[in-house]
Symmetry: D3
Subunit: 242 residues, 6 copies
Amino acid sequence: MTHIRVINPNTALEMTESIGRCARAVVSSSTEVTAVSPAMGPESIESHYDEALAVPGLLAEIAAGERAGVDAYVIACFGDPGLDAARELAAGPVLGIAEAAMHAATMVGRTFSVVTTLARTTGRAWELAHRYGFAAACRGVHACEIPVLDLEKPPARAAVTELCASVAERDGSDVIVLGCAGMADFCAEVTRATGVPVIDGVAAATRFAESLVALGLRTSTRGEYARPLPKRYTGLLRDFTI
Amino acid sequence: MTHIRVINPNTALEMTESIGRCARAVVSSSTEVTAVSPAMGPESIESHYDEALAVPGLLAEIAAGERAGVDAYVIACFGDPGLDAARELAAGPVLGIAEAAMHAATMVGRTFSVVTTLARTTGRAWELAHRYGFAAACRGVHACEIPVLDLEKPPARAAVTELCASVAERDGSDVIVLGCAGMADFCAEVTRATGVPVIDGVAAATRFAESLVALGLRTSTRGEYARPLPKRYTGLLRDFTI
Amino acid sequence: MTHIRVINPNTALEMTESIGRCARAVVSSSTEVTAVSPAMGPESIESHYDEALAVPGLLAEIAAGERAGVDAYVIACFGDPGLDAARELAAGPVLGIAEAAMHAATMVGRTFSVVTTLARTTGRAWELAHRYGFAAACRGVHACEIPVLDLEKPPARAAVTELCASVAERDGSDVIVLGCAGMADFCAEVTRATGVPVIDGVAAATRFAESLVALGLRTSTRGEYARPLPKRYTGLLRDFTI
Amino acid sequence: MTHIRVINPNTALEMTESIGRCARAVVSSSTEVTAVSPAMGPESIESHYDEALAVPGLLAEIAAGERAGVDAYVIACFGDPGLDAARELAAGPVLGIAEAAMHAATMVGRTFSVVTTLARTTGRAWELAHRYGFAAACRGVHACEIPVLDLEKPPARAAVTELCASVAERDGSDVIVLGCAGMADFCAEVTRATGVPVIDGVAAATRFAESLVALGLRTSTRGEYARPLPKRYTGLLRDFTI
Amino acid sequence: MTHIRVINPNTALEMTESIGRCARAVVSSSTEVTAVSPAMGPESIESHYDEALAVPGLLAEIAAGERAGVDAYVIACFGDPGLDAARELAAGPVLGIAEAAMHAATMVGRTFSVVTTLARTTGRAWELAHRYGFAAACRGVHACEIPVLDLEKPPARAAVTELCASVAERDGSDVIVLGCAGMADFCAEVTRATGVPVIDGVAAATRFAESLVALGLRTSTRGEYARPLPKRYTGLLRDFTI
Amino acid sequence: MTHIRVINPNTALEMTESIGRCARAVVSSSTEVTAVSPAMGPESIESHYDEALAVPGLLAEIAAGERAGVDAYVIACFGDPGLDAARELAAGPVLGIAEAAMHAATMVGRTFSVVTTLARTTGRAWELAHRYGFAAACRGVHACEIPVLDLEKPPARAAVTELCASVAERDGSDVIVLGCAGMADFCAEVTRATGVPVIDGVAAATRFAESLVALGLRTSTRGEYARPLPKRYTGLLRDFTI
């Protein structure tokens, strides 16, 4: 049995549960998915500052997962925070949801557009598109200006759906990518409204993580992603010492 | 039950069988994999000319697959011949093995090197790396100068394995990508010899195709990949008329 | 005497004749131009599928041209179908009209815009711009949504001309490129309407092909474009065996 | 009087002192430089994991600096950890030493090579070169394989100097960039040995930070780098709540 | 005492004086700034032709500066004319104002837009953004269509300010770059109107040039920027023989 | 009758004559080629400084050509000096030899390598490859370290030929580009020695210039390349006033 841990790096537990449901819906019956939140960190991630403070807690969850024999991890925040560090720590593969969503999008279309929460996060989405090699395929990153924690309120779903439909038209993109883990369960609705494939990164990352395990693949430990060197960590963060 | 058809676009049937075995080894028990070769085309693909003449037969297999209710397709040749045309024809997703291998490689490392058959095909591999967005991640494309149909002969396996080990060292890449469907069953051996993750595109493409189906994703029909317009096709090729 | 063969890869013979006239108008009096269509293939090329099925017939024309001592070839379809395969087959140079048009455009301006037929073909035009190195120079690819075979009907000429004028203004491009061989004889009219240089790829490719012959240049046979290896081709396509 | 705070994000205090000396040597007499280390974090930074765990302590120092009226900050680690988050937090400019070194290098040459500590950090250096726009100018990133904390031992200085001289020759680069704050005081020696300009990022960043203050420039707060939104931070990290 | 020479490469002396004032305002009290114009050349630079004819006079000023012991130079025209040649001639660093402005802009924001004089110069600005590595950071280059020599007339200041405010909004850029040395003294006003950091390249280049001197950095003479080889120059230009 | 003027921008008259011969060899019998040198400028061009001082004389030749009714121009120096300015001045097309050679090279191969004179000029060649869009196709720029004026001495021809053969092997390029107008008459010899297509930019540019005239194409005057604005030019350069 494959065990995939989906880590919601913020501390909003209802969101974690919803993310878990979306992840479980796409894996084989023989795969177990556990969805967790760190014990420390911000209640939502909407800035570089929030990302930075979410990462230590996220890494603690990776460390706990390693002790529990987890096979692969998903980082369920569209900024893919801590992805490189997590890869150094985990024996199995680790995928971010922005990364996975962009991979999936380019498998079913030549171009995609991202619909995300706040405009201040669009710079990070573009940076990731560049890093992963998908900048030429990305036609636009658009913000609905709804904060992460308001996504579960009724009007958000309609507003995001409407924006996605308008973006698909304006950008002429083949695919829409949902730019926040809090939108994971909007996928079916947005698909109906836009008529194009819509990617929820949580589902995509979870299924691809399961695939990497099935393919016998792990993060390369040859160079950059080798296990961190043992050393002294001072102060409050000593709990993360490996 | 999901049905994935793996099309070996050359007419070498033993290779088709070996490809089918590699594909079946990585999917869920509830997924059926059928491996086929076109009724027409070259016995191996080692040039742009070979690719061009393999594509009509490959498209005929896609058309046959559509009539048989196939859910997704894999094009099992590292030049990804006919990929765009196949996407227009098939209702479900279509993946090339170069494409899938490069996606998988960048999920488990920052850089990869490709080991392929003849030097004359390295230009095509680089072209695909550019098109898919992975050119910056690709550190090298190397030829063993063994023709496709000789890969099944005993010395080939050792020679490819040795080249992979040497390339991993020289390029300093995190991952090795096997650049021919005829190398699909070398994967375990090369992994042992290099100590880095080794990607067989047949396995990667088959598993990712199964994943796209599980995620409910199909090729976007919004623009470029809409179904071909009905029109008159003249001459020997009339069988491909849709 | 130099002999250039212009191949219209679809089977619309009136279009082939018009293409031939445009090609003949720009070469020296000592150069012979023959314009041909394949005996098999689609009546027009408006998708990747159409391109794929046009290529075998196109390659048969190249093979026939080689037997007739043709010095250079032009592929007169803006998707440049089969270009790489044709280069392997022909002793002399081969140019696609998209390729030639983009070369010419960047010789007389810093930026250009393409006006083409159906929106579904714009992805291919962008792909070629990237492959040839002209993506940064290309400011836009615009569709008039007139099918290829309707271009010869009277309203098409006016509609294309109007779109070109509007595109030149909107994109602020230095040059307009006509994105279909069926527009070859619109060149003078569009030039008058836009006030900027307008490139017809048929004329540009034919003249550049003549130039390459005059310069004593042939496609390099050093690696990728070496002659295809002799091998067995099965089925209907046996006629293309080399 | 301008007050610049140079933050060494590891907890190695002797290194912090040495960094402070290098920074003070290049500013005007009217500028005060304070060099600090966080109270928590790793003793050296040699992995993504180390970077991730250094950032919260670094941000605490930024927060403390804001209360003390600091005018600008330098992050003295060649991975530029926490740069984006620090920019959100600080009213004045923030520069990373990799960033500043690459800016300086391209002001005095067309190409540069980086000499850094461990090979596992070269991926991060390349990633930064891409992000800042200097990838085409960067001819190589080379590791001396000396851990950060061993740089202050006598043999390190000679080994790094020798590697720089060899790299300048091999890469044919115009400029050498020292890829670790622990090499800051090697600058004069390496300059003598290589005969090319040698950039210490600590000096460059400190002087450029002073320049930005003199120019009246601060990080734009228009979008991405607006002050983080007030929200609840849970657990050990509550001290960083803003 | 550091001596920086700011060269206005056109012959409009009032502009030279204004440029000198802006440059002097940002350097340390121990730095001397001299602002000069060549004895020959165009009265304003608004085309490639103007740039080309401005360069010999500019190089004569560099040669004169070398005899006078100048420590660093600024080329105060947004096309950065003659920058490479000046670097070969001068012992100390040389900065162009476009170059310096783009460096400064990317130190305080992720994206910037340029506001310049005539539309015909926007191609050159983009070319420089590409050359320096800042093309991805540049969101737009916009022309106010006011000739250089009209910038000192009262309506120009208001028109440029208004355009900057509109551009900041439309492009969503973090930073505005003033694209002409004749706008150097608009900086404070445009900053107030836009609410984002505004970069005057004259100030930025002068302060960065002073910084490079303080850092002990000079243009690398290793290869491309080695001193020009002694040779015979014929005709009117003999005065420039070195 | 078409009149093409080939301008050798240095003052070495024997080189001008040799260039003229190479140019005349590739045009139609109805085309006249005149080869000229400016009355002022450096005797050879081997630095940015030399280029800068060659340009005013070159522009004077363009101006003279316009008065004489010249149809198109070739700038016969591999740095393509003054190309943009010349385009503003001339009614007909203007081509640089680096530009033309790179266009021709990518028409007959996927990759090329440049062999040039001094290593200090390789930076400029790379810059042009980037500007024209051919950087990905360019596999290397190599210097023979023979000064321009020594190219006509007997040992040069053998040394350049040998370097070309070695470069073709090492880089694995499809095509060799001769990187100096002084190598124009080495073309046949290098072709024999390397077995790959060899491009002399003088021949390529002359023939392409003739082609652009035959195609009815001129430099776009829509924006950047509009005729320079009338204005006052002061000093020795007054002769260039337009």
